[in-house]
């Protein structure tokens, strides 16, 4: 079966970014921050490409974002997506993003929709489940393995202290984590062809939102490290018991 796969991609601060805020801790300071394709979305995309290799289908990437996300979209095309959709709006929250994508999918159906397990900025793990509910199809939030056989997929879902193996008929939506695929790196040909692959920009639909980020806090700094001499390991145990009270 030829599969049409949709991969939802987000544009997030590079993992090495030192996170700071401005305007009395109400705005994320994007000054000097490099934005990248969310690492989990890279896994989703890589698996989608593997599943459709050899003329076995196609991979579309979709992003809800303003024009500043185009470099990230081109990166996804360079890795191997066939075409891209950008819904031209600030991604207000997961609900807004899911609503916009669901709207698109209702008119343009896919056999499989993949997201990352979470975006590394807001860490919500929400878009997949919301999309599933909006489209009334199954969703699995965090998967470690994905195989497709005809109209049915087998996925491995992580649970505390183990895993579950599920079978799910297409179409459904899943959030991918490590293990699903090795992230693919764009090659020269991919980078060249990415420039000419179709990137369609569509306008968002109006929707009421239910949450607002109104500020940020940074974690309280830790005090100076207390070094224990290497020949006094028992001293560390004593401190963990009496001072830190954790053992």
């Amino acid at each position: 079966m030829k599969m049409k796969i949709l991969v939802c991609i987000s544009n997030v601060p590079d993992t090495t970014t030192k996170i700071t805020f401005t305007d009395n801790n109400t705005q994320f300071n994007t000054n000097g921050v490099q934005f990248i394709l969310n690492p989990y979305d890279e896994i989703a995309l890589s698996r989608a490409i593997e599943l459709t290799e050899g003329g076995n289908g196609s991979v579309t990437v979709i992003n809800v974002g303003e024009s500043n996300t185009e470099a990230t979209i081109r990166k996804a095309l360079a890795i191997g997506a066939d075409d891209a959709i950008r819904i031209n709006a600030q991604p207000h929250d997961a609900w807004f993003v899911a609503f916009q994508i669901a709207q698109y999918v209702k008119e343009n159906p896919f056999d499989l929709i993949l997201t990352g397990r979470e975006s590394i900025d807001y860490n919500g793990s929400k878009v997949a489940g919301m999309l599933g509910e909006l489209l009334d199809i199954p969703s699995v939030s965090i998967i470690k393995k994905l195989a497709v056989d005809g109209e049915t997929a087998t996925v491995e879902r992580e649970i505390e202290g183990g895993k579950e193996i599920l079978t799910i008929p297409l179409p459904f939506i899943a959030g991918t984590a490590e293990g699903v695929a090795e992230p693919k790196i764009p090659n020269m040909r991919g980078i060249m062809s990415a420039r000419t692959k179709p990137l369609k920009v569509i306008e968002p639909v109006a929707v009421k939102t239910f949450s607002e980020v109104i500020g940020y806090e940074t974690p309280a700094p830790r005090g100076q490290v207390k070094l224990v001499p290497a020949d006094d390991v028992a001293g560390l145990v004593e401190l963990l018991h009496t001072a830190a009270r954790v053992i």
């Binding site: 793990s125 969703s139 649970i159 599920l166 490590e178 070094l227 390991v233």
Partner: protein, 325 residues
């Protein structure tokens, strides 16, 4: 208005993170002078269900239906939404567990509710505003999220709220629901449990190893240290990438985020991506032979030395301490 908490069970038992969620939901109910209903789905015995009252439930709804024996995201979301409607609940609390993270967004859509995932504190409720502090930027910061909808869904991060006894007495009511076939498309084939170990997301103590340990054959001492502490084992990304340890142990920005009471990092340099996953640990201990390792900058306690000497000594010292108490 009232509060409803979903009490997820694992093999018929509630974990500590569920009692945290119940205690947290109790506190929200108290903030709003209202009642708390706990919902359990699946096979849980009455004495276990009664624990939900101990931590604050005024009422316990027990949904024990053959079709709902195993967790199915879509069906459980429908059932919880149904229970919320029946109880007139407008605030739904869950644990931010793997299953909770699947349920919260579906519930949010069903109930037209704003969703706060990864909540780390009680809501601030002033001037009609309802604001939740949640983790963001993979543990590098917190975001303050205002939920502006009438209904609200909150998924509490494990290990961020103290289990508190409220000693309520509650009736256990059997709650019957209609299920619809289209909610059961996903089918559970198998559950694989690694029962012999403490699960990493639940662990109060985590012993973690990095590339400094040189190879998988040297993990025996890490496991032994974890065993005597009742801890879970974890690792840095290159360690799981190399296949020395399973991916499920990889912590950090692209792995899992943990917030144990004690995190012991052995032979890990402390790269920013690693710290992102562990920075909300209450106490951090670092063992590294390089005094310049960045990890010491965020540690509470440290030993500069060779892991292959220090860890065996630490194991004996803890054994001695355990024998003395």
């Amino acid at each position: 208005m009232s509060v409803l908490v979903y009490a997820e069970n694992a093999g018929g038992k509630f974990k500590k993170s569920i009692f945290e969620a119940v205690s947290y939901a109790r506190a929200i109910a108290d903030q709003n002078s209202t009642s708390l209903t706990a919902v359990s789905i699946g096979d849980v015995k009455a004495d276990e269900l009664a624990l939900l009252a101990k931590y604050g439930a005024d009422k316990i709804l027990n949904i024990s239906n053959d079709k709902l024996k195993n967790f199915v995201n879509q069906a459980y979301a429908s059932v919880i939404a149904e229970a919320a409607k029946n109880q007139g609940a407008d605030i739904i609390v869950l644990s931010n567990s793997f299953s909770g993270r699947g349920l919260a967004p579906r519930l949010g859509v069903k109930m037209e509710a704003g969703v706060a995932d990864g909540a780390v504190a009680l809501p601030e409720q002033t001037n009609g505003k309802f604001t939740i502090k949640k983790t963001a930027f993979s543990g590098k910061a917190f975001a303050l999220v205002e939920l502006t909808s009438a209904n609200k869904v909150i998924a509490l991060l494990p290990n961020s709220f103290k289990v508190t006894e409220a000693n309520k007495t509650a009736q256990i009511e059997d709650f019957n629901v209609e299920t619809k076939a289209s909610d059961f498309k996903a089918m559970l084939k198998e559950i694989v449990r690694s029962t012999d170990k403490v699960s990493l997301p639940d662990a109060e103590i985590v012993v973690s190893g990095g590339r400094g340990l040189k190879g998988p054959e040297n993990w025996r001492m890490i496991e032994e240290l974890a065993e005597i502490l009742g801890a879970a084992t974890a690792c840095s990304k290159p360690v799981s990438d190399a296949g020395w340890r399973p991916h499920s142990e990889h912590v950090g920005q692209t792995g899992i985020t943990v917030s144990p009471n004690l995190y012991i990092a052995i032979g890990i340099s402390g790269a920013i991506q690693h710290l992102a996953g562990i920075s909300s640990s209450k106490v951090i201990v670092v063992i590294n032979k390089d005094a310049e390792a960045p990890f010491f900058k965020v540690a509470d306690y440290g030993i500069i030395g060779d892991a292959f000497e220090i860890v065996p000594k630490l194991i004996s010292a803890i054994k001695e301490y355990k024998a003395s108490v």
